[in-house]
Subunit: 431 residues, 2 copies
Amino acid sequence: MNVQFKNARILKTNPNHSFEILDGELWVKGNEICYIGDGKDTERVTDNAPIAWENPIDCQGNLLIPGFKNAHTHTPMTFLRSYADDMPLQDWLTKQVFPKEAQLTEADVYWLDILGVMEYLTSGITSNFDMYLFPLANAKAFRDCGFRSVQTSGVNNFSYSVKEVEEHYLAVNEMGELNSFILGFHGEYTTSREIMEGLSDLAHKYKSPIYLHNAETKREVEECKDRWGMTPTQITESLGLYDFGGGGYHMVHMEEADYEIMKKRNLFAVTNPCSNLKLASGIAPIKRFLDEGISVAIGTDGPASNNALDFFREMYLMTALAKVREMDASCVSAEEVLYAATAGGAYAMHLMDCDCLAEGKKADLVMIDLKQPNMQPENNLVKNLVYSGSKSNVKLTMINGQILYEDHNFHIGFDPEEIYARANAIIRRMK
Amino acid sequence: MNVQFKNARILKTNPNHSFEILDGELWVKGNEICYIGDGKDTERVTDNAPIAWENPIDCQGNLLIPGFKNAHTHTPMTFLRSYADDMPLQDWLTKQVFPKEAQLTEADVYWLDILGVMEYLTSGITSNFDMYLFPLANAKAFRDCGFRSVQTSGVNNFSYSVKEVEEHYLAVNEMGELNSFILGFHGEYTTSREIMEGLSDLAHKYKSPIYLHNAETKREVEECKDRWGMTPTQITESLGLYDFGGGGYHMVHMEEADYEIMKKRNLFAVTNPCSNLKLASGIAPIKRFLDEGISVAIGTDGPASNNALDFFREMYLMTALAKVREMDASCVSAEEVLYAATAGGAYAMHLMDCDCLAEGKKADLVMIDLKQPNMQPENNLVKNLVYSGSKSNVKLTMINGQILYEDHNFHIGFDPEEIYARANAIIRRMK
């Protein structure tokens, strides 16, 4: 599909994590942005090939931004949304989540993913970094919607083998341009040294980064130190897991040595502010990460622990929680947050062509409706996005050049009513 | 207007702060709910008077809930949204907010209020407890939109006199059924003992409760103790300000004696979670309030310090912040939050007929669109509302029997484009 966005405001990302707003046009050819400008100096586009413009879209002054990258989630957990809240973390996990998950089928995962994709699109999320059971069904569900997805492994002592991780890695990376797989495992507290060593071998074999749940709770870190005399970051580093980079999800309870490892290995801190509040895990040291030059990305975590898949809420909380944690209203600017939500996430997920709006980049973008009261007046559009923006401002979500959501309608090849009915049938079956 | 909501799910509020969902119909006659039931046993309605049903609305199984009560805000501060964020509180207030507010005209306040009302409607907020300059213009703006509003005074050492507060009190309480006025002042840290004593005399003269900013910051409490040897709650109690009830906005930095006074005087704690984060004020002790039986209501605070006027964000944070503050994922249930957002706010604002959906109550209600991915599946609708609900789920907002917002369109007698243009003209004029 070729699309001309006309009469737009376009968010340009600067390397120093600041942003500019350009007035003009953005053109999409196939799955790429082929032109950003005033609509007149178009030789370099038409040189290449004549383009049939099927869809000129008048943006009416609304804002085009890069899509949000949800850098940590467990999408199929949509079925557990509002199932067991207001409980202590361990009870929630062992008495509610695990017994229900044991009943999930591969087909369930597929349909629950579609529900998650719909929610992502309403919030301007254009790709996810997903860890869940049945990674192949997972990858297929996202692809079937036209959604860009990076799978990672949640392998642990109670699941499949390292050999199967390798099979998933190879299979998903062959699935097509919307799918990829980065190595990972569930976390130190659920995974034997043997499995971690197997993952380290795989990381070296494929030169892949490694991601895992890390330092989500204080207890997790303390128990790790009891086991190994090292924090989760230290033990995983000692096993060579980060020789090709990677990072951790949550990263709340950090120690001094951990920051040094993160800097040495260029590890990403993927923060999950809503989940960390709701499960009473704590508040991540975002200001320290930024001060140290450690890259930050944002994730929603799964809908059982959040319970929404809403990047506006995560963005707001990334800065608002940092402010109250440091007791400093000036720390972690809206610009740093928006950078983490877009470019930061893209780099964490190795989606190097999805980081920003520029010629040659993938057309993964969102049109923000500025003509709503929460985005007015226009003192500062970036601050409006982060501090008062809402999923109600998402007017259009495009992934890989395809419009998958526009004016509250989904274009993903599935009927929303059917998806809701399937999700409700799954929870009814489990009762 | 007489409206029949058919094929609805209806949220029923129980006295013990729990909720039930009824399937059926809700009928509105004039400005009141005249019937809730299955649509068959309607004698007690038609006995009264024959009703011409102009607007049967098929809710298609969507959920009717009482409107949210925004129990603390400064609505006209919409003009400062995103103007000066990421700054320390004192600089923000003295170098940015005060100099800009000094340039505001009465007409500005009127138009900025309309912008705020629009944002309230998109978030299902049906009334506000507003403290700002030009309270008469303020009250008139809300009334002209059909919005229910309770004004309070922000009198302090730098504004008008106690005599003028009395004039405002009398004038606004005469304005009509949508307007009322409850006595108040800005806060102990900005207000002389003489003014507070004058307010106490007024409270006794009119048997009115008193509200003020209280214990928002640690510094405020410490400086108050230096001045009086008492906390703000103690000094105001000692002046007889609460002899007819009232409460405080924020209530973050509480001491033991303060809880006792709150219980003795039945004071309301009006919590403002977003503002307290963004200005790095702290996290209020919500669990303690609830454990003590102290009534809680919720406010957005003004859009300069939040920056949104979004009750879904406030509701989520009321419980999520309590969970991380207490390091207990089980504390402050979704039900307690929804009760505070609806009935709690209504009682704080003395809107005794706007607390819940029941026959004889005012028709201040919201239709929640359940057919969106963030509200599916339906494990628990109250938890869905609080933990994954969003303003994008607000399908219709009715106040006093009038539909003011439906399917993204405003019915308030003003053109949104004009309101946005006026707000932008105000900020341009000030530059």
